[in-house]
Symmetry: C2
Subunit: 289 residues, 2 copies
Protein backbone atom coordinates (compact mmCIF):
# COMPACT_ATOMS: atom_id res chain seq x y z
CA UNK A 1 0.00 0.00 0.00
CA UNK A 2 1.50 3.29 -1.14
CA UNK A 3 -1.34 5.72 -0.60
CA UNK A 4 -4.22 5.87 1.92
CA UNK A 5 -6.94 8.48 1.34
CA UNK A 6 -9.04 9.66 4.30
CA UNK A 7 -12.25 11.31 3.10
CA UNK A 8 -14.37 13.73 5.10
CA UNK A 9 -17.45 15.79 4.18
CA UNK A 10 -18.56 13.29 1.56
CA UNK A 11 -21.79 14.51 3.13
CA UNK A 12 -21.43 18.21 3.88
CA UNK A 13 -23.53 18.18 7.05
CA UNK A 14 -21.51 15.40 8.73
CA UNK A 15 -18.96 17.48 10.54
CA UNK A 16 -16.82 15.01 12.48
CA UNK A 17 -15.08 13.75 9.34
CA UNK A 18 -14.92 17.27 7.93
CA UNK A 19 -13.27 18.66 11.08
CA UNK A 20 -10.79 15.79 11.30
CA UNK A 21 -9.78 16.06 7.64
CA UNK A 22 -9.37 19.84 7.93
CA UNK A 23 -7.20 19.25 11.00
CA UNK A 24 -5.05 16.66 9.24
CA UNK A 25 -4.60 18.83 6.15
CA UNK A 26 -2.71 21.29 8.38
CA UNK A 27 -1.27 18.68 10.80
CA UNK A 28 -0.30 15.79 8.48
CA UNK A 29 2.08 14.38 11.09
CA UNK A 30 -0.97 13.14 13.04
CA UNK A 31 -1.83 10.65 10.28
CA UNK A 32 1.67 9.93 8.94
CA UNK A 33 3.13 6.41 8.97
CA UNK A 34 6.56 5.38 7.70
CA UNK A 35 5.75 3.15 4.73
CA UNK A 36 2.98 4.98 2.85
CA UNK A 37 1.51 8.38 2.07
CA UNK A 38 -1.70 9.52 3.82
CA UNK A 39 -3.89 11.96 1.90
CA UNK A 40 -6.75 13.71 3.75
CA UNK A 41 -9.48 14.84 1.32
CA UNK A 42 -12.51 17.11 1.72
CA UNK A 43 -14.82 15.27 -0.64
CA UNK A 44 -17.67 17.76 -1.06
CA UNK A 45 -16.45 21.21 0.03
CA UNK A 46 -19.39 22.93 -1.74
CA UNK A 47 -21.92 20.99 0.35
CA UNK A 48 -19.83 21.58 3.50
CA UNK A 49 -19.90 25.34 2.85
CA UNK A 50 -23.70 25.14 2.53
CA UNK A 51 -23.91 22.90 5.65
CA UNK A 52 -26.03 20.46 3.67
CA UNK A 53 -25.72 16.77 2.79
CA UNK A 54 -25.32 17.50 -0.92
CA UNK A 55 -25.96 20.21 -3.52
CA UNK A 56 -27.55 18.32 -6.45
CA UNK A 57 -27.43 14.64 -5.49
CA UNK A 58 -25.81 12.32 -2.96
CA UNK A 59 -22.06 12.23 -3.73
CA UNK A 60 -21.85 8.84 -2.03
CA UNK A 61 -24.21 7.44 -4.69
CA UNK A 62 -22.43 9.20 -7.59
CA UNK A 63 -19.26 7.21 -8.22
CA UNK A 64 -20.94 4.89 -10.72
CA UNK A 65 -21.95 7.87 -12.87
CA UNK A 66 -19.14 10.41 -12.92
CA UNK A 67 -19.49 13.11 -15.53
CA UNK A 68 -17.48 16.06 -16.78
CA UNK A 69 -20.40 17.43 -18.77
CA UNK A 70 -21.36 21.03 -18.16
CA UNK A 71 -24.77 20.98 -16.54
CA UNK A 72 -24.17 17.59 -14.94
CA UNK A 73 -25.02 17.44 -11.21
CA UNK A 74 -22.30 19.02 -9.09
CA UNK A 75 -21.66 15.71 -7.36
CA UNK A 76 -21.26 13.82 -10.68
CA UNK A 77 -18.60 16.34 -11.66
CA UNK A 78 -16.93 16.09 -8.26
CA UNK A 79 -16.94 12.28 -8.51
CA UNK A 80 -15.25 12.54 -11.91
CA UNK A 81 -12.66 14.94 -10.49
CA UNK A 82 -11.93 12.63 -7.54
CA UNK A 83 -11.63 9.61 -9.86
CA UNK A 84 -9.21 11.48 -12.18
CA UNK A 85 -7.00 12.07 -9.17
CA UNK A 86 -7.45 8.98 -6.99
CA UNK A 87 -9.23 6.32 -9.06
CA UNK A 88 -7.50 3.14 -10.32
CA UNK A 89 -6.38 5.01 -13.45
CA UNK A 90 -5.94 8.36 -11.74
CA UNK A 91 -2.87 10.57 -11.46
CA UNK A 92 -2.13 9.42 -7.89
CA UNK A 93 -4.23 6.27 -7.38
CA UNK A 94 -5.49 5.48 -3.90
CA UNK A 95 -4.71 2.00 -2.61
CA UNK A 96 -6.95 2.26 0.47
CA UNK A 97 -9.88 4.62 1.05
CA UNK A 98 -11.32 5.43 4.49
CA UNK A 99 -14.46 7.54 4.35
CA UNK A 100 -15.71 9.23 7.54
CA UNK A 101 -19.44 9.57 8.16
CA UNK A 102 -21.91 10.23 10.96
CA UNK A 103 -25.46 9.00 11.43
CA UNK A 104 -28.49 10.07 13.47
CA UNK A 105 -28.99 6.36 14.31
CA UNK A 106 -27.56 4.80 17.47
CA UNK A 107 -24.87 2.84 15.62
CA UNK A 108 -22.01 3.66 17.97
CA UNK A 109 -18.69 3.15 16.22
CA UNK A 110 -19.39 1.20 13.04
CA UNK A 111 -17.00 -0.08 10.40
CA UNK A 112 -18.81 -0.70 7.10
CA UNK A 113 -17.43 -3.21 4.63
CA UNK A 114 -18.63 -2.93 1.03
CA UNK A 115 -16.95 -6.16 -0.09
CA UNK A 116 -15.27 -9.22 1.44
CA UNK A 117 -11.75 -8.58 0.22
CA UNK A 118 -9.54 -10.45 2.75
CA UNK A 119 -7.49 -7.28 3.34
CA UNK A 120 -10.66 -5.47 4.42
CA UNK A 121 -11.83 -8.29 6.69
CA UNK A 122 -8.43 -8.45 8.36
CA UNK A 123 -8.29 -4.66 8.77
CA UNK A 124 -11.77 -4.82 10.35
CA UNK A 125 -10.65 -7.55 12.76
CA UNK A 126 -7.50 -5.57 13.64
CA UNK A 127 -9.46 -2.40 14.33
CA UNK A 128 -11.94 -4.31 16.49
CA UNK A 129 -9.07 -5.63 18.60
CA UNK A 130 -8.00 -2.04 19.28
CA UNK A 131 -11.50 -0.52 19.52
CA UNK A 132 -13.45 -3.28 21.31
CA UNK A 133 -16.88 -1.64 21.07
CA UNK A 134 -16.58 -1.46 17.27
CA UNK A 135 -19.40 -3.01 15.23
CA UNK A 136 -18.66 -4.39 11.76
CA UNK A 137 -21.47 -4.09 9.23
CA UNK A 138 -21.20 -5.77 5.85
CA UNK A 139 -23.26 -3.64 3.46
CA UNK A 140 -22.48 -5.70 0.43
CA UNK A 141 -24.89 -5.31 -2.43
CA UNK A 142 -23.51 -6.47 -5.74
CA UNK A 143 -26.40 -4.94 -7.63
CA UNK A 144 -25.15 -1.45 -6.71
CA UNK A 145 -21.46 -1.40 -7.65
CA UNK A 146 -19.03 1.41 -7.10
CA UNK A 147 -21.51 4.06 -6.10
CA UNK A 148 -19.89 5.00 -2.81
CA UNK A 149 -16.63 6.86 -2.36
CA UNK A 150 -14.97 4.08 -0.37
CA UNK A 151 -15.69 1.63 -3.20
CA UNK A 152 -13.61 3.42 -5.86
CA UNK A 153 -10.89 0.93 -4.94
CA UNK A 154 -11.32 -2.56 -3.49
CA UNK A 155 -9.56 -1.82 -0.22
CA UNK A 156 -11.02 0.45 2.40
CA UNK A 157 -13.96 1.10 4.68
CA UNK A 158 -16.69 3.55 5.49
CA UNK A 159 -16.67 4.65 9.13
CA UNK A 160 -20.12 5.51 10.47
CA UNK A 161 -20.56 6.93 14.00
CA UNK A 162 -23.70 7.89 15.88
CA UNK A 163 -26.08 8.90 17.20
CA UNK A 164 -25.46 12.53 16.41
CA UNK A 165 -27.40 15.34 14.81
CA UNK A 166 -26.03 16.77 11.60
CA UNK A 167 -24.10 20.06 11.68
CA UNK A 168 -22.66 19.44 15.12
CA UNK A 169 -19.45 17.91 16.47
CA UNK A 170 -19.97 15.42 19.29
CA UNK A 171 -16.68 15.00 21.10
CA UNK A 172 -17.04 11.35 22.10
CA UNK A 173 -17.74 10.33 18.51
CA UNK A 174 -14.94 12.52 17.16
CA UNK A 175 -12.47 10.83 19.51
CA UNK A 176 -13.90 7.42 18.57
CA UNK A 177 -13.45 8.19 14.87
CA UNK A 178 -9.85 9.25 15.52
CA UNK A 179 -9.15 5.96 17.30
CA UNK A 180 -10.60 3.94 14.39
CA UNK A 181 -8.55 5.86 11.81
CA UNK A 182 -5.39 5.43 13.88
CA UNK A 183 -5.98 1.67 14.10
CA UNK A 184 -6.58 1.47 10.33
CA UNK A 185 -3.33 3.32 9.62
CA UNK A 186 -1.47 1.08 12.08
CA UNK A 187 -2.89 -1.98 10.30
CA UNK A 188 -1.74 -0.72 6.90
CA UNK A 189 1.71 0.00 8.31
CA UNK A 190 1.89 -3.50 9.84
CA UNK A 191 0.67 -4.99 6.55
CA UNK A 192 3.38 -3.15 4.62
CA UNK A 193 5.95 -4.42 7.11
CA UNK A 194 4.61 -7.98 6.62
CA UNK A 195 3.89 -8.13 10.36
CA UNK A 196 2.54 -11.66 11.03
CA UNK A 197 -0.01 -10.10 13.42
CA UNK A 198 -1.92 -8.88 10.34
CA UNK A 199 -2.37 -12.49 9.25
CA UNK A 200 -3.26 -14.15 12.58
CA UNK A 201 -6.51 -16.12 12.31
CA UNK A 202 -9.29 -14.49 14.30
CA UNK A 203 -13.06 -14.68 14.58
CA UNK A 204 -14.94 -11.62 13.35
CA UNK A 205 -18.56 -10.83 14.22
CA UNK A 206 -20.16 -9.42 11.09
CA UNK A 207 -23.63 -7.90 10.75
CA UNK A 208 -24.43 -8.79 7.17
CA UNK A 209 -26.96 -6.76 5.19
CA UNK A 210 -30.28 -8.46 4.37
CA UNK A 211 -32.83 -5.82 3.34
CA UNK A 212 -34.23 -2.36 3.93
CA UNK A 213 -37.62 -1.47 5.43
CA UNK A 214 -39.60 1.63 4.42
CA UNK A 215 -42.04 3.58 6.61
CA UNK A 216 -45.77 2.92 6.32
CA UNK A 217 -47.19 5.46 3.86
CA UNK A 218 -50.58 6.57 2.61
CA UNK A 219 -51.71 6.55 -1.03
CA UNK A 220 -49.92 9.88 -1.62
CA UNK A 221 -46.65 8.53 -0.23
CA UNK A 222 -46.87 10.49 3.03
CA UNK A 223 -45.58 8.76 6.12
CA UNK A 224 -48.32 7.55 8.45
CA UNK A 225 -46.12 6.28 11.28
CA UNK A 226 -42.82 6.91 13.01
CA UNK A 227 -40.22 4.66 14.60
CA UNK A 228 -41.77 3.17 17.74
CA UNK A 229 -40.28 4.67 20.92
CA UNK A 230 -39.42 1.14 22.12
CA UNK A 231 -37.56 0.42 18.87
CA UNK A 232 -35.68 3.73 18.64
CA UNK A 233 -31.94 3.38 19.43
CA UNK A 234 -32.02 -0.46 19.35
CA UNK A 235 -29.52 -0.71 16.49
CA UNK A 236 -27.66 -4.06 16.60
CA UNK A 237 -30.16 -5.46 19.16
CA UNK A 238 -32.08 -8.62 18.21
CA UNK A 239 -35.49 -7.96 16.63
CA UNK A 240 -38.04 -10.77 16.96
CA UNK A 241 -41.45 -11.47 15.45
CA UNK A 242 -44.04 -9.15 17.02
CA UNK A 243 -41.59 -6.62 18.47
CA UNK A 244 -42.83 -3.04 17.98
CA UNK A 245 -41.22 -1.20 15.06
CA UNK A 246 -43.62 1.65 14.19
CA UNK A 247 -46.26 3.73 15.93
CA UNK A 248 -48.96 5.30 13.76
CA UNK A 249 -50.02 8.89 14.25
CA UNK A 250 -53.22 7.66 15.91
CA UNK A 251 -51.21 5.66 18.42
CA UNK A 252 -51.35 2.10 17.03
CA UNK A 253 -48.30 -0.13 17.36
CA UNK A 254 -47.05 -2.01 14.30
CA UNK A 255 -45.01 -5.12 15.07
CA UNK A 256 -42.25 -6.82 13.13
CA UNK A 257 -43.73 -9.53 10.92
CA UNK A 258 -40.60 -11.49 10.03
CA UNK A 259 -40.05 -14.98 11.48
CA UNK A 260 -36.28 -14.90 11.84
CA UNK A 261 -34.29 -13.00 14.46
CA UNK A 262 -32.60 -10.08 12.72
CA UNK A 263 -30.39 -7.17 13.77
CA UNK A 264 -31.50 -3.70 12.64
CA UNK A 265 -29.17 -0.81 11.78
CA UNK A 266 -29.69 2.76 10.58
CA UNK A 267 -32.89 3.07 12.65
CA UNK A 268 -34.28 6.58 12.02
CA UNK A 269 -31.41 7.93 9.95
CA UNK A 270 -32.44 11.45 8.84
CA UNK A 271 -31.03 11.17 5.32
CA UNK A 272 -32.85 7.92 4.58
CA UNK A 273 -36.41 9.24 4.82
CA UNK A 274 -36.03 10.38 1.20
CA UNK A 275 -34.48 7.03 0.25
CA UNK A 276 -37.47 5.10 1.65
CA UNK A 277 -35.50 3.48 4.44
CA UNK A 278 -36.79 3.50 8.03
CA UNK A 279 -34.13 0.96 9.01
CA UNK A 280 -32.03 -1.82 7.52
CA UNK A 281 -31.95 -5.44 8.62
CA UNK A 282 -28.87 -7.60 9.05
CA UNK A 283 -28.05 -11.10 10.18
CA UNK A 284 -25.21 -11.82 12.57
CA UNK A 285 -22.41 -14.01 11.23
CA UNK A 286 -19.18 -15.27 12.72
CA UNK A 287 -16.35 -15.31 10.21
CA UNK A 288 -12.88 -16.77 10.50
CA UNK A 289 -10.63 -14.23 8.85
CA UNK B 1 -59.06 33.01 26.35
CA UNK B 2 -60.88 32.62 23.05
CA UNK B 3 -58.17 31.36 20.73
CA UNK B 4 -55.04 29.22 21.26
CA UNK B 5 -52.62 28.90 18.36
CA UNK B 6 -50.28 25.88 18.21
CA UNK B 7 -47.37 26.54 15.89
CA UNK B 8 -45.21 23.91 14.22
CA UNK B 9 -42.42 24.15 11.64
CA UNK B 10 -41.43 27.62 12.78
CA UNK B 11 -38.14 25.94 11.92
CA UNK B 12 -38.70 23.75 8.87
CA UNK B 13 -36.26 21.02 9.91
CA UNK B 14 -37.86 20.45 13.33
CA UNK B 15 -40.35 17.78 12.42
CA UNK B 16 -42.08 16.84 15.66
CA UNK B 17 -44.06 20.09 15.80
CA UNK B 18 -44.63 19.95 12.05
CA UNK B 19 -46.01 16.41 12.16
CA UNK B 20 -48.24 17.17 15.15
CA UNK B 21 -49.66 20.34 13.59
CA UNK B 22 -50.31 18.53 10.28
CA UNK B 23 -52.07 15.79 12.27
CA UNK B 24 -54.21 18.29 14.19
CA UNK B 25 -55.15 20.20 11.04
CA UNK B 26 -56.96 17.05 9.87
CA UNK B 27 -57.95 15.78 13.36
CA UNK B 28 -58.95 18.98 15.20
CA UNK B 29 -60.91 16.98 17.80
CA UNK B 30 -57.59 15.92 19.34
CA UNK B 31 -56.86 19.51 20.43
CA UNK B 32 -60.41 20.77 20.95
CA UNK B 33 -61.60 22.03 24.33
CA UNK B 34 -65.08 23.33 25.15
CA UNK B 35 -64.43 26.99 25.95
CA UNK B 36 -62.03 28.19 23.25
CA UNK B 37 -60.89 27.66 19.66
CA UNK B 38 -57.61 25.86 18.95
CA UNK B 39 -55.83 26.78 15.73
CA UNK B 40 -52.92 24.60 14.54
CA UNK B 41 -50.55 26.57 12.27
CA UNK B 42 -47.68 25.51 10.02
CA UNK B 43 -45.51 28.57 10.52
CA UNK B 44 -42.91 28.17 7.77
CA UNK B 45 -44.24 25.71 5.17
CA UNK B 46 -41.66 26.85 2.60
CA UNK B 47 -38.79 25.90 4.90
CA UNK B 48 -40.54 22.63 5.81
CA UNK B 49 -40.82 21.73 2.12
CA UNK B 50 -37.07 22.37 1.77
CA UNK B 51 -36.37 20.43 5.00
CA UNK B 52 -34.32 23.37 6.23
CA UNK B 53 -34.46 25.64 9.28
CA UNK B 54 -35.30 28.70 7.20
CA UNK B 55 -35.13 30.03 3.65
CA UNK B 56 -33.75 33.58 4.06
CA UNK B 57 -33.50 34.16 7.81
CA UNK B 58 -34.66 32.65 11.11
CA UNK B 59 -38.45 33.13 11.30
CA UNK B 60 -38.21 32.91 15.09
CA UNK B 61 -36.10 36.08 15.06
CA UNK B 62 -38.29 37.89 12.52
CA UNK B 63 -41.35 39.03 14.43
CA UNK B 64 -39.81 42.38 15.38
CA UNK B 65 -39.23 43.21 11.71
CA UNK B 66 -42.22 42.06 9.68
CA UNK B 67 -42.35 43.40 6.15
CA UNK B 68 -44.68 43.21 3.18
CA UNK B 69 -42.11 44.69 0.84
CA UNK B 70 -41.34 42.76 -2.29
CA UNK B 71 -37.78 41.55 -2.01
CA UNK B 72 -37.96 41.39 1.78
CA UNK B 73 -36.70 38.11 3.29
CA UNK B 74 -39.29 35.34 2.96
CA UNK B 75 -39.49 35.04 6.74
CA UNK B 76 -40.12 38.80 7.22
CA UNK B 77 -43.03 38.51 4.82
CA UNK B 78 -44.30 35.38 6.55
CA UNK B 79 -44.05 37.12 9.95
CA UNK B 80 -46.13 40.01 8.56
CA UNK B 81 -48.69 37.57 7.21
CA UNK B 82 -48.94 35.74 10.55
CA UNK B 83 -49.27 39.04 12.44
CA UNK B 84 -52.03 40.23 10.09
CA UNK B 85 -53.94 37.08 10.97
CA UNK B 86 -53.05 36.37 14.59
CA UNK B 87 -51.34 39.45 16.04
CA UNK B 88 -52.97 41.72 18.62
CA UNK B 89 -54.53 43.78 15.80
CA UNK B 90 -55.02 40.83 13.45
CA UNK B 91 -58.19 39.49 11.90
CA UNK B 92 -58.45 36.62 14.42
CA UNK B 93 -56.09 37.56 17.26
CA UNK B 94 -54.41 34.78 19.20
CA UNK B 95 -54.79 34.94 22.98
CA UNK B 96 -52.25 32.20 23.70
CA UNK B 97 -49.45 30.92 21.45
CA UNK B 98 -47.71 27.57 21.92
CA UNK B 99 -44.75 27.09 19.58
CA UNK B 100 -43.31 23.57 19.15
CA UNK B 101 -39.56 23.15 18.68
CA UNK B 102 -36.86 20.51 18.89
CA UNK B 103 -33.19 20.84 19.82
CA UNK B 104 -30.06 18.76 19.31
CA UNK B 105 -29.20 19.50 22.97
CA UNK B 106 -30.15 17.14 25.78
CA UNK B 107 -32.88 19.42 27.16
CA UNK B 108 -35.51 16.73 27.63
CA UNK B 109 -38.97 18.30 27.78
CA UNK B 110 -38.47 22.04 28.23
CA UNK B 111 -41.05 24.80 28.63
CA UNK B 112 -39.57 28.18 27.71
CA UNK B 113 -41.02 31.35 29.18
CA UNK B 114 -40.24 34.60 27.39
CA UNK B 115 -41.78 36.79 30.06
CA UNK B 116 -43.06 36.52 33.66
CA UNK B 117 -46.74 37.09 32.98
CA UNK B 118 -48.53 35.38 35.92
CA UNK B 119 -50.73 33.43 33.48
CA UNK B 120 -47.61 31.93 31.91
CA UNK B 121 -45.99 31.09 35.24
CA UNK B 122 -49.16 29.37 36.43
CA UNK B 123 -49.52 27.48 33.14
CA UNK B 124 -45.89 26.33 33.52
CA UNK B 125 -46.54 25.15 37.07
CA UNK B 126 -49.72 23.34 35.96
CA UNK B 127 -47.92 21.58 33.12
CA UNK B 128 -45.07 20.55 35.43
CA UNK B 129 -47.60 18.93 37.78
CA UNK B 130 -48.84 16.80 34.88
CA UNK B 131 -45.44 16.23 33.22
CA UNK B 132 -43.13 15.86 36.23
CA UNK B 133 -39.86 15.66 34.27
CA UNK B 134 -40.60 19.02 32.63
CA UNK B 135 -37.93 21.71 32.94
CA UNK B 136 -38.94 25.38 32.92
CA UNK B 137 -36.44 27.79 31.35
CA UNK B 138 -36.96 31.52 31.57
CA UNK B 139 -35.34 33.00 28.48
CA UNK B 140 -36.29 36.55 29.23
CA UNK B 141 -34.23 39.17 27.48
CA UNK B 142 -35.84 42.58 27.38
CA UNK B 143 -33.29 43.88 24.92
CA UNK B 144 -34.71 41.55 22.25
CA UNK B 145 -38.44 42.19 22.24
CA UNK B 146 -41.02 40.35 20.22
CA UNK B 147 -38.67 38.54 17.89
CA UNK B 148 -39.98 35.04 18.50
CA UNK B 149 -43.30 33.65 17.33
CA UNK B 150 -44.52 32.81 20.83
CA UNK B 151 -43.94 36.43 21.90
CA UNK B 152 -46.43 37.98 19.43
CA UNK B 153 -48.83 37.95 22.36
CA UNK B 154 -48.03 38.06 26.07
CA UNK B 155 -49.45 34.64 26.86
CA UNK B 156 -47.87 31.44 25.68
CA UNK B 157 -44.76 29.32 25.64
CA UNK B 158 -42.15 27.80 23.41
CA UNK B 159 -41.85 24.02 23.85
CA UNK B 160 -38.35 22.71 23.21
CA UNK B 161 -37.63 18.95 23.25
CA UNK B 162 -34.37 17.09 22.77
CA UNK B 163 -31.95 15.65 22.07
CA UNK B 164 -32.89 14.87 18.53
CA UNK B 165 -31.36 15.35 15.12
CA UNK B 166 -33.18 17.62 12.72
CA UNK B 167 -35.31 16.08 9.95
CA UNK B 168 -36.32 13.07 12.02
CA UNK B 169 -39.24 12.24 14.31
CA UNK B 170 -38.23 10.69 17.62
CA UNK B 171 -41.27 8.95 19.05
CA UNK B 172 -40.55 9.52 22.74
CA UNK B 173 -40.18 13.27 22.21
CA UNK B 174 -43.26 13.44 19.99
CA UNK B 175 -45.31 11.77 22.73
CA UNK B 176 -43.76 14.10 25.31
CA UNK B 177 -44.67 17.14 23.21
CA UNK B 178 -48.24 15.87 22.89
CA UNK B 179 -48.50 15.50 26.67
CA UNK B 180 -47.24 19.06 27.22
CA UNK B 181 -49.68 20.51 24.69
CA UNK B 182 -52.56 18.56 26.24
CA UNK B 183 -51.67 19.90 29.69
CA UNK B 184 -51.48 23.48 28.34
CA UNK B 185 -54.92 23.14 26.71
CA UNK B 186 -56.33 21.66 29.93
CA UNK B 187 -54.90 24.61 31.87
CA UNK B 188 -56.51 27.13 29.51
CA UNK B 189 -59.81 25.29 29.79
CA UNK B 190 -59.59 25.28 33.60
CA UNK B 191 -58.60 28.97 33.53
CA UNK B 192 -61.65 29.81 31.40
CA UNK B 193 -63.83 27.84 33.82
CA UNK B 194 -62.29 29.83 36.73
CA UNK B 195 -61.17 26.52 38.24
CA UNK B 196 -59.49 27.43 41.58
CA UNK B 197 -56.81 24.81 40.83
CA UNK B 198 -55.36 27.25 38.30
CA UNK B 199 -54.75 29.72 41.13
CA UNK B 200 -53.39 27.42 43.81
CA UNK B 201 -50.07 28.69 45.17
CA UNK B 202 -47.19 26.41 44.13
CA UNK B 203 -43.43 26.51 44.03
CA UNK B 204 -41.93 26.57 40.56
CA UNK B 205 -38.31 25.70 39.78
CA UNK B 206 -37.16 28.11 37.09
CA UNK B 207 -33.88 28.07 35.19
CA UNK B 208 -33.40 31.75 34.53
CA UNK B 209 -31.26 32.93 31.60
CA UNK B 210 -27.93 34.59 32.46
CA UNK B 211 -25.72 34.68 29.38
CA UNK B 212 -24.51 32.85 26.29
CA UNK B 213 -21.05 31.38 25.70
CA UNK B 214 -19.43 31.19 22.25
CA UNK B 215 -16.90 28.59 21.07
CA UNK B 216 -13.20 29.39 21.14
CA UNK B 217 -12.22 30.73 17.72
CA UNK B 218 -9.08 31.66 15.82
CA UNK B 219 -8.36 35.06 14.27
CA UNK B 220 -10.45 34.14 11.20
CA UNK B 221 -13.43 33.19 13.34
CA UNK B 222 -12.99 29.45 12.81
CA UNK B 223 -13.83 27.22 15.75
CA UNK B 224 -10.76 25.77 17.46
CA UNK B 225 -12.55 23.55 19.97
CA UNK B 226 -15.69 21.47 20.42
CA UNK B 227 -17.92 20.74 23.40
CA UNK B 228 -15.94 18.58 25.82
CA UNK B 229 -17.16 14.96 25.86
CA UNK B 230 -17.63 15.21 29.64
CA UNK B 231 -19.79 18.34 29.24
CA UNK B 232 -21.91 17.08 26.31
CA UNK B 233 -25.50 16.25 27.36
CA UNK B 234 -25.14 17.85 30.82
CA UNK B 235 -27.93 20.38 30.22
CA UNK B 236 -29.52 21.48 33.53
CA UNK B 237 -26.65 19.87 35.54
CA UNK B 238 -24.63 22.16 37.83
CA UNK B 239 -21.48 23.59 36.24
CA UNK B 240 -18.70 24.58 38.64
CA UNK B 241 -15.44 26.50 38.31
CA UNK B 242 -12.88 24.33 36.54
CA UNK B 243 -15.31 21.81 35.07
CA UNK B 244 -14.41 20.90 31.47
CA UNK B 245 -16.45 22.71 28.83
CA UNK B 246 -14.37 22.56 25.63
CA UNK B 247 -11.72 20.33 24.11
CA UNK B 248 -9.40 21.87 21.53
CA UNK B 249 -8.54 20.06 18.30
CA UNK B 250 -5.12 19.27 19.73
CA UNK B 251 -6.68 17.63 22.77
CA UNK B 252 -6.43 20.33 25.45
CA UNK B 253 -9.25 20.70 27.97
CA UNK B 254 -10.70 24.16 28.63
CA UNK B 255 -12.41 24.57 31.98
CA UNK B 256 -15.24 26.81 33.09
CA UNK B 257 -13.82 30.03 34.52
CA UNK B 258 -16.87 31.42 36.32
CA UNK B 259 -17.00 31.44 40.13
CA UNK B 260 -20.71 30.79 40.60
CA UNK B 261 -22.53 27.51 40.13
CA UNK B 262 -24.60 27.80 36.97
CA UNK B 263 -26.89 25.52 34.97
CA UNK B 264 -26.17 25.23 31.24
CA UNK B 265 -28.78 24.68 28.53
CA UNK B 266 -28.65 24.41 24.72
CA UNK B 267 -25.29 22.62 24.90
CA UNK B 268 -24.21 21.90 21.29
CA UNK B 269 -27.39 23.04 19.55
CA UNK B 270 -26.75 22.72 15.80
CA UNK B 271 -28.51 25.94 14.82
CA UNK B 272 -26.54 28.04 17.30
CA UNK B 273 -23.08 27.55 15.80
CA UNK B 274 -23.94 30.38 13.38
CA UNK B 275 -25.33 32.47 16.25
CA UNK B 276 -22.09 32.18 18.22
CA UNK B 277 -23.62 30.14 21.02
CA UNK B 278 -21.94 26.96 22.26
CA UNK B 279 -24.29 26.88 25.24
CA UNK B 280 -26.34 29.20 27.44
CA UNK B 281 -26.05 29.65 31.20
CA UNK B 282 -28.89 29.89 33.67
CA UNK B 283 -29.31 30.19 37.40
CA UNK B 284 -31.81 28.11 39.31
CA UNK B 285 -34.59 30.00 41.08
CA UNK B 286 -37.54 28.92 43.18
CA UNK B 287 -40.62 31.02 42.53
CA UNK B 288 -43.91 31.08 44.35
CA UNK B 289 -46.52 31.38 41.64
Amino acid sequence: VKRVVIGGATHGNEWIGAWLVERWLTHPDEVTRASFETLPLLCNPAALAERTRYIDQDLNRSFDGPSNAEGAPLESRRAAEILRQLGPNGRTPADVVLDLHTTTANMGLTYILTNRDPFNLRMAAWVKQHVPNLKVYGWIDDTLPRRSFSSIVARGATIEVGPTANNVVRGDLLLGTKSIVAACLDFVEAHNQADPATRARVELELFSHLSVQDYPRDADGRLTAFIHPEFQDRDYQPLEHGDPIFMTLDGQTIGYQGRETVYPVFINEAAYYEKGIAFSLTEKQLLNV
